[in-house]
Point group: C2
Chain length 591, copies 2
Amino acid sequence: MNKIVLAQINPIAGNIEENSKKIIESINKAKKNNADLVIFPELSLMGYPFGDIFIRHKSIIERQLIALENISAKTTSITAIVGFAEPTYNANKKPFYNSVAVMQNGKIINIVRKRLLPNYSEFNDYRYFEPNESTPEILELNGERYGILVCEDSFNDKSFFKEDCIYKTDPIKEIMSKNPSTLINCSCSPSRTGKEYVKNALFSSIAKKYGVNYIYVNQAGYADNLCFDGTSRIYNSNGELTLRAKSFEEDFVITDNLQGKINDIPDGMDKRVDFKKFNTQYKSDLARTYKSIIFGIKEYFQKNGFTKAVLGLSGGLDSSICAVLLCDALGKENVWGVSMPSRITSDESKNDAEILAKNLGINFLEIPLAEAIDVFKPMLNQAFKEVNTDKFEKSTTIENLQARIRATILWSISNEHKQMLPIATSDKSEAYIGYATVNGDMSGGFAPIADVTKTKLFALGRFLNENRAQKNAIPQAILEKPPGAELKINPKTGKTVCAEEENMPYEFLDEIIWFVENAGYGFDDLLNHNFCYEKHHPLTVEDKTEWINKFYWKSKCAVYKWHIIPPSIVTDAHSINSVEYRQPIISKIYR
Amino acid sequence: MNKIVLAQINPIAGNIEENSKKIIESINKAKKNNADLVIFPELSLMGYPFGDIFIRHKSIIERQLIALENISAKTTSITAIVGFAEPTYNANKKPFYNSVAVMQNGKIINIVRKRLLPNYSEFNDYRYFEPNESTPEILELNGERYGILVCEDSFNDKSFFKEDCIYKTDPIKEIMSKNPSTLINCSCSPSRTGKEYVKNALFSSIAKKYGVNYIYVNQAGYADNLCFDGTSRIYNSNGELTLRAKSFEEDFVITDNLQGKINDIPDGMDKRVDFKKFNTQYKSDLARTYKSIIFGIKEYFQKNGFTKAVLGLSGGLDSSICAVLLCDALGKENVWGVSMPSRITSDESKNDAEILAKNLGINFLEIPLAEAIDVFKPMLNQAFKEVNTDKFEKSTTIENLQARIRATILWSISNEHKQMLPIATSDKSEAYIGYATVNGDMSGGFAPIADVTKTKLFALGRFLNENRAQKNAIPQAILEKPPGAELKINPKTGKTVCAEEENMPYEFLDEIIWFVENAGYGFDDLLNHNFCYEKHHPLTVEDKTEWINKFYWKSKCAVYKWHIIPPSIVTDAHSINSVEYRQPIISKIYR
């Protein structure tokens, strides 16, 4: 049996020289270990996703080919499979094939081109790639026959996907006519809710169905709002998992019998998610969500040359969760939490913010806002008087003003430090209904929780308090009080208005989001749906209709904000991140 | 000869009910005029571009088909050609064909599906559409034979595009085997620099080459950062233009001999642009640029329910041009210009801002910033002292702070007014090198000049002063002084630092942008290129290298900002707007 290396590397899109260095290092290491075959992920030389980079940086096309030649020269006593963007050099075709080069004896001996090109959600293969139309090739190596596939080529199995097959052909079925004993799948597959379950079940079922071994090599890394989890692995011909590489980091795994260590994955990551059911526990998805966000933060900061983060600490849920995540990703010494109380900030909130910072051991500052607000008031009152209105005190203007002054302070602090990014702490539930403030809590160099809903953040908070080495870092009060921006006072109660008073219960909102994203529910479907919230709070049809209408109306008005969310991490199965979902700002439809 | 209507409508993506109403109105009007045939643009019923809207608003798919049936019922004494998204209902295919329905006698008698699917630049047809693979159909009407094409189907003529043909087949060549006397092209084609020349030359050459009449019906409207100019027209079989509809507005043109009024287009719009040559006059493109921006502003505001705009007036070029454009698009009574001088703002700038506002007759306010800056200083100094540094006074922090306080004031003013948007006044040259401030001049609800370079803005300013009914609205000083943000003082000169001191001459920068965007130049090409600037300012290789390096380095760092540019108008032949160009934030390449 051949000795095989799964080279789970983390390339950077377009950075041919560094990617090539990484590939050669892995080849050399594999050779030192007397491996027969080393396998790299899809597009490992060009990096993925590379977008339109080659259009304005044409030289990378040739530089990539030269690098590929250089890499092949290193394969003197080993076989290597390296993903790259193969130019078609044909004006009638797309610029590239999505190919893997098979290298041996210092030469490229074969090229296998991807056949099935995904062009939905975050995938845009058909913008760049020409589909291969011939049957995938077989690599024969020391008597073993390997069938080579590129990512999506493995995702059209009729017995697995049934009526959800979206392509006309199944490359695996065709390649099986050439009698491979092992299938190799070079991939770039991001981590999202429920996806690991599908991949695991699919690969296992293919291995079993055809009685072949199945080797999956996936990229590790973050790019363009997507986290690639790695988690490369091998299944034997009974469909049993026999080896699994690390998740959310690079790995170099060597095996001479297709077996090896089965590394842990975040708890529950491979559980099936029933997208037709909603609950606020998100049990199987919390460990993975945590891991993917930590990884995304680390990667974004490191790849862009940042080391430090500054965020506002309000004593509320969003900023507290962000603080924990940043602390775990960057180290407590690299995180600055700034409490910026206004006159209406409660003592509880101030205390909670400070306790959290102390618990985490991050840097902590308090900068009261009152004076800044006071100076803006007369400036603005003049403007309002002159042009329209004197209702300044009563409007949302002052609420937004507080949020914008806070962001101004954070950006100023980041300005003064080298390698520091201000953090946008707004969450997904708020993004949907536009409850975050432009130039306020929506603003920052990075938005760690922009794809996490409020109820999931509560669950994540409890998870963090239970599962981090340091228990209960987040004060219990933060996980119990109703969320609210503390931007205005309810004159009836004398207390700050909580978000649910202004919008609708988050439990209800998040269930709408869940079914709109995951089940394609429209207005009527939602109206006919039995919400979890209704089980403990019976609702009239009128109330329910009002909330659903409010969701559509508010999200219609919020679409503009979706387009200016800072770089973030897509982690749910579906999102409103523009890397995936494209909603025209002008559409007027809201159902 | 048939009496034909070119129904140049302005649909809204996904808004089936309103689009359908518009279509029926045009059909009724055509019937009243005893027309035989009424032709609508590509995808006129669904609206274009509709993005992923149908994924989360599934009901529009069926609602569109019902609307199509209703429309067809109106064609009792007329033939209509209506573009729509035809569901494939086939899991193995893309969700739709990009089709036009031919309706007659109250029924759909034929459906023609688009064959060539553009999937580059702003086009993503292959994400949504399945290509048609059969020869386009002929419509026979009162003895005339019409060949029907959908947009790109007309864009693969070998004798015109030569080696730039990007598809394998030419639908026109094939349809000609069926002997049509007239070709009909239903389109959604946006206006960009140099594009009208290509379309005019192409359509004319096709008409002449095949000896057929050629009817082009294009959408008018703005959506998703793109302006569709309409400018529908007819060519006779000699390739001569015989009719032209209006540009940048809806139109309803009726003709019974394929001839009619040749409406004016913006001066120079159909001139050939030599993309291998750069000059700072932009002569043939100024009238079109002006028209497309005005149209884009009008459309965005109206379609989103806004009527008023507020912008900062610095007395500089960017904000002055924006003020003129907003004034012409929205009416002077709907524009608020706010002068927000800081202590270092020169009297000249203050005066120029005020004179401009008076000239235009827009609302004008002055809100000095000094107090606000003074209140932030101790707040921030405390933060800096505690965590890192006391260099606040010396850094860019205070420069950005000024810009951010200004934006905060503008957003607050827009908060107080109904239907008012704050305006981001930053330009394309600044966007490239990241010279605009996040949450500052980059921030707003709309960015009118985000795709116009600085030298083009100077040319546009001169054009506006000469060509608007009101001459010289922009004070001459604004068009003559070197651009600068007036955010800091040069200690040597005691004057505010101008932008070119900090970056490089705009003439040089804009020529880099021109060749990178339009000719695919890389680092070496630029270094070998003779810049216009060099003709009057000889440069050493070292200086030139430094500037080109600076361009790459700064634009690499600015990519993050490209992703959060507010809704804008793409008007140049190429842009960095994410509707068109996709540059990964993480790439590390800068050559």
